[in-house]
């Protein structure tokens, strides 16, 4: 790893990380501030929710209406899915640009002509990406935890909360690996931000569709969101080892492939 490059990248991405952390934290705070009001009006809300198809509630991690009444169920239904989508967008935007930006900004000609190998560049940038994704997840999970502590009426399972947070992190890491891989496939440098965001939204749409439409249930397996369970109020809620292997396996495979491609990539500016 090259320390000089690493520190420059950390500085360059700090503002963007800060903005994303503030936005997601604010969303969590605002949503969780409605929890008490929600409890006070539960009979009306349950009546309203009974009109919504069961599948549509399930995809938000609501197996039954009582789930929503627990603070963790409310948090999982209203926040985690946004943390997963927004966190994944942050992750894929950062990863798809972290190498490619040097090419389309034409700064690769300065970077690649320094005494630094492609491996060092890749590892330094991967470290920056990992740290950014980890910090975003840590801060937003911490914000969620504090909010739940402040508004809860009955205690919640910290274990389930941690599993939920780990799934969010794994999903974000996977999208980070997808972004990195896509950026190494691009031959002539151009930004792929819009495409990357679109990809996250398409995967989320596929997941949503598979949850609310019985006929499309199998299609859900195409989406990484399918493997990040948000059913936190289920007493049997745990980390599925196959899902863990899916996230870690694909992330490692795509990162390794990106590394190999980047080492032999023709870089034009």
């Amino acid at each position: 790893m090259n320390k000089n490059l690493f520190l420059k990248e950390i500085r360059r991405n700090s503002v963007s990380l800060m903005i994303w952390m503030i936005v997601i934290t604010l969303l969590i705070v605002v949503t969780m501030s409605f929890y008490r009001t929600f409890l006070e009006n539960q009979s009306k809300i349950v009546g309203m929710l009974s009109l919504i198809p069961k599948g549509a509630l399930q995809f938000k991690g609501i197996s039954n209406f009582n789930d929503l009444m627990s603070v963790l169920g409310f948090y999982a239904a209203n926040n985690v899915i946004y943390m997963m989508v927004l966190g994944s967008i942050f992750s894929i935007v950062l990863s798809s640009n972290i190498l490619l930006k040097e090419e389309y900004d034409k700064t690769a000609e300065y970077l690649l002509t320094r005494p630094v190998t492609r491996s060092e560049i890749f590892i330094s940038k991967l470290a920056v990406l990992s740290i950014n994704v980890f910090i975003l997840n840590l801060v937003t999970a911490l914000a969620g935890f504090i909010c739940m502590e402040l508004v809860m009426k009955t205690p919640f399972s910290i274990g389930a909360f941690l599993i939920l947070s780990i799934y969010t992190l794994l999903l974000n890491i996977l999208f980070g690996a997808i972004g990195l891989f896509l950026s190494t496939l691009i031959k002539r440098a151009k930004p792929i931000t819009t495409f990357s965001i679109g990809l996250v939204l398409i995967f989320y749409f596929i997941y949503t569709l598979s949850k609310i439409t019985e006929g499309a249930a199998k299609m859900g397996y195409l989406s990484p969101f399918r493997f990040a369970s948000v059913d936190a109020t289920n007493p049997a809620y745990t980390i599925d080892l196959w899902h863990l292997a899916y996230f870690i396996g694909i992330s490692l495979f795509l990162t390794g492939l990106s590394y190999r491609l980047y080492k032999r990539k023709d870089i034009y500016t």
Binding site: K106, R114, V116, Y268
Partner: protein, 296 residues
């Protein structure tokens, strides 16, 4: 160091079926100022990008200071400075921040002093944002960053684009002085006059192939000129047949234009026997030079 500082053997680069460069062979000795000249798209930047390990060759090999440009790229780059043709840099940084970032890649004791000296020479304002700089000033930043670590070899890809004549002169003086101190310079350009001004030897590249490798002194002796002459009387083209005249074309009226590569005194002597209304002797364009080399 024994042997050439740059040693290119049978180097080729194809982009699918499209040609980049084809079977280039080149040796540049230590301490040379070597010109690499050709029109846009000829393969100059492709060759340089392979040397700098930005792209990979499809055939052949290249060595710098005896080291392979792919395998030993990191070691090579500690001793090579590079000025890209495009002077883009990190726009969010100011000049000082960028130069400090560049210098931290090297083990240099007096880095700040070096930044200060070179910036002063090129009248660079270190506090300005790179995004706010003009093309000329960005080029100066590019020149300064290439020299910060006192490289043994300097590779320049169209380095004067955007520089005003005064700064060009400062830059050329600096290059001559660094060359006297032992720096080898590989100067790629499409402007023949600046290559002639600075270089001792030159390679002409066209359509991916080196078509001529020559000493600048020999080139000067040939001194290819483009001559346009308007005569008072009609003249027979066949009578324009002194040694060195090529490609005679007739124009409107009694206008004649041709390429001349002989002694200019002979030409003036030849023309003095005719009644001339107008005479213009100018530097030929690169294409005209290439045509000349192709024919010869």
């Amino acid at each position: 160091m024994n042997g050439p500082i740059i040693d290119i053997t049978d180097l080729s680069k194809f982009y699918g079926k499209a040609r980049g460069i084809e079977h280039i062979n080149l040796e540049i000795g230590e301490g040379e100022i070597f010109g690499f000249i050709g029109p846009n798209g000829a393969g100059k930047s492709t060759t340089i990008r392979i040397l700098m390990n930005m792209i990979f060759p499809t055939g052949g090999s290249a060595r710098i200071m005896g080291m392979d440009v792919i395998r030993d790229t990191k070691k090579i780059k500690t001793q090579v400075g590079y000025i890209p043709s495009d002077a883009s840099a990190y726009s969010s940084m100011d000049v000082h921040e960028f130069l400090s970032y560049c210098i931290r890649f090297y083990q240099i004791q007096n880095g700040e002093q070096r930044i200060s000296d070179l910036s002063e020479l090129f009248e660079l304002d270190l506090n300005r944002q790179i995004a706010d700089l003009s093309l000329g000033n960005r080029k100066k930043v590019s020149i300064v960053q290439s020299l910060l670590h006192n490289p043994k070899l300097l590779i320049l890809d169209e380095p004067t684009t955007g520089l005003d004549p005064l700064m060009q002169s400062v830059f050329f003086d600096l290059l001559r002085s660094e060359n006297k101190n032992g720096m080898t310079i590989f100067f790629s350009s499409h402007i023949l006059s600046e290559v002639q001004m600075l270089c001792k030897r030159v390679a002409i590249i066209k359509e991916g192939k080196i078509i001529q490798l020559e000493d600048i002194d020999n080139m000067r002796k040939k001194q290819l000129k483009k001559v346009s002459v308007e005569l008072a009387d009609h003249v027979n083209i066949k009578s324009f047949s002194i040694h060195g005249i090529e490609n005679v074309i007739t124009g409107p009226g009694n206008m004649l234009s041709f390429m001349y590569s002989g002694n200019i005194n002979d030409l003036v002597g030849f023309l003095s026997g005719k009644e001339i209304i107008n005479l213009m002797i100018e530097e030929p364009s690169l294409d005209e030079i290439f045509l000349h080399y192709y024919r010869s």
